[in-house]
């Protein structure tokens, strides 16, 4: 049985700042009522993880011009900004997974996307310093959001 709250780190551990989502959720602990998952960003897998939840917190790296900047986006309110998130297999990534969930009535009533602007995404490179500095701050912010979600559920 799926827990009411899910935190999903999305990324590719081998592509520099694209690992940010994974690194952030690794700093969080699953607990009663909270699942913590790591995913590659494939839309249908994301959709499956969103089904039946009261709240979903998704953490991903994003394209941008201010490396390390953390965005908190309310995906339940409407589609994510275009071009911010990378696409996965067949152009079917996080933004598409969320929209597919919305079209199928499977989007949790609370759905927040944390996006960390990345500096570099090349294969084999480590996480940039700017993004590394954001990791603990993002984890802290998500921990607070998890607590708020748990009070509601």
């Amino acid at each position: 049985m799926a827990s009411p709250v899910v935190v999903i780190g999305v990324g590719n551990a081998l592509r520099a700042d694209d690992a940010a989502g994974l690194e952030i959720v690794r700093r969080l602990r699953a607990g009663p009522g909270v699942d913590v998952l790591e995913q590659s960003g494939e839309a249908t897998a994301l959709l499956d993880a969103l089904r039946g939840r009261a709240a979903a917190l998704i953490v991903d790296a994003a394209a941008g011009t201010d490396p390390g900047r953390l965005h908190r986006l309310d995906a339940a309110a409407g589609p994510l900004p275009q071009g911010m998130f990378g696409v996965s297999t067949h152009g079917f990534g996080v933004a598409e997974g969320i929209e597919l969930a919305r079209a199928l009535g499977a989007l949790p009533p609370v759905c927040v996307v944390y996006a960390v602007e990345g500096e570099r995404f090349e294969t084999g490179a480590p996480i940039s310093e700017a993004v590394a500095r954001t990791l603990p701050l993002a984890a802290e912010s998500i921990t607070k959001d998890i607590a708020t979600c748990m009070k509601r559920t």
């Binding site: 494939e42 249908t44 152009g91 079917f92 929209e99 079209a103 199928l104 009535g105």
Partner: protein, 429 residues
């Protein structure tokens, strides 16, 4: 003289990055270029200097949709070099793993990528708002495939349980039993899928392709068989390089493959089906006939129906394999490195996938060659457009662009694999 260019700068619903450029002059097609600009990934060079046992795990990273195909061609080629054959239950388990990948890959393409073309939606998301039940069915069907890969391959994407000589761990009969229950549902869903897509409207377009696929004495091909064609080719994987040639073209970072002395050919579902209809299970054959397909299908737009038939077959075959599964006495056969070259072709969801390796006496890879299905199909994709475009010139640009993209998506191209995406430019003149 009038000129016109049609451009698709970024082709959607395909894997990888590419564009299409079509140039028309005085109502005639002058030029068609499928431009693949995804950077080449040099996997063959990465493999040199690595141990033979690493090939299945390294090559699985070429593709997130068809890693099993890469693993299968890699292990079979290595086993060919080492002169070993795996035990029958291990071979059956490899077929089961391949069924999982076909169900997953075909399910994604039929429902998420290709069906919107036929139903007039820009995307699967737009389609999902009005065809919720169908999309849910497609997603659940795809998931059944994922679950096979998860159980037999160790995880859903880039499986880790495959090794040269067999597996690291083999499942018990008891572990496979719950999968069978899901696959019974999936088989019914696949049959519904065949009926659903058979009701789409298809442009009346056929081409005289040279179909190329594996053919096995009594199985619909996954891992094993001769490389045969509809125009008389009948060779072993060892002869592949003698008969097929890869050419560099300036507009693509993926090499184009041709049959020496003849030119373009077709791999993938249409080719497999047309060369192996008699090897499908009775249920799949019956569904194909009821869907209006003959034993040969040369209309690339009907590839969606053929994919659905193959999905049905894969569910049927997976159930047969699970029912007949005997737990292997050992997870892998013992191997001793020796110097030599090995060759293998297996049937990836998108078609024939060729691997060739040379290893030294310690088992270090000294040479590797990988020919993915999409690079083999590139010349045929361009030829389809050259052949069909003259009939479509009265269409407005938007309709024409849509039709061109649909024509490319018939192939479910995996551009990341081939060079490992797409933009359309049409120049009307």
């Amino acid at each position: 003289m009038t000129r016109k260019t049609i451009k698709v700068d970024y082709l959607a619903r395909v894997e990888g990055e590419g564009a299409l450029h079509v140039s028309l002059r005085d109502g005639a097609v002058r030029d068609v270029e499928l431009r693949i600009f995804e950077p080449p990934r040099f996997f063959e060079a990465f493999l040199r200097g690595r141990a033979y046992a690493e090939a299945p795990d390294i090559t699985a990273r070429i593709c997130g949709i068809c890693p099993v195909a890469y693993q299968m061609s890699a292990v079979h080629a290595m086993e060919d070099a080492l002169g070993v054959a795996v035990d029958a239950p291990l071979r059956a388990l490899r077929r089961l793993l391949y069924c999982g990948e076909w169900i997953e890959s075909h399910g994604l393409h039929i429902y998420m990528l290709h069906a919107p073309d036929f139903l007039g939606y820009e995307s699967a998301i737009a389609m999902a708002r009005e065809h919720q039940a169908e999309v849910e069915r497609g997603l659940r069907l795809k998931k059944a495939g994922n679950e096979i890969v998860q159980l037999v391959g160790g995880r859903e994407i880039h499986p880790i349980n495959v090794r040269v000589g067999g597996f690291y761990r083999t499942p018990t009969r008891r572990e496979l039993a719950p999968l069978a229950e899901k696959l019974k549902w999936a088989r019914d869903a696949a049959l519904e899928t065949v009926r659903w897509v058979a009701g789409f409207e298809f442009p009346d377009c056929e081409r005289d392709y040279e179909f190329v696929a594996l053919r096995h004495p009594d199985e619909y091909p996954f891992n094993e068989g001769r490389v045969v064609s509809s125009k008389g080719l009948d060779i072993g994987a060892r002869e592949y390089d003698e008969r097929f040639e890869e050419r560099h073209v300036a507009h693509s970072t993926a090499l184009h493959s041709v049959i020496r002395g003849r030119g373009a050919y077709l791999v993938g579902p249409l080719a497999r089906y047309s060369l192996n209809f008699d090897r499908l299970s009775p249920l799949a054959q019956e569904a194909a006939r009821a869907a209006g397909l003959g034993p040969v299908c040369a209309n690339p737009y009907r590839s969606i129906v053929v994919r659905a038939v193959e999905t049905l077959y894969a569910c049927d075959e997976a159930l047969r394999l699970i029912e007949g599964y005997e737990e292997p006495a050992r997870p892998a056969v013992p191997l001793e490195p020796r110097a030599g070259s090995g060759y293998a072709c297996t049937e990836a969801p998108r078609g024939l996938l060729y691997h060739r390796y040379t290893i030294d006496a310690e088992g270090t890879i000294t040479d590797a060659k990988i020919v993915p299905p999409t690079s083999q199909n590139q010349p045929s994709i361009e030829d389809d457009l050259r052949a069909f475009l003259p009939e479509w010139l009265s269409m407005d640009d938007e309709a024409l662009r849509w039709r061109c993209e649909q024509t490319i998506r018939n192939y479910d191209p995996c551009i990341s694999c081939s060079c490992h995406f797409l933009r359309l430019e049409v120049e009307r003149g």
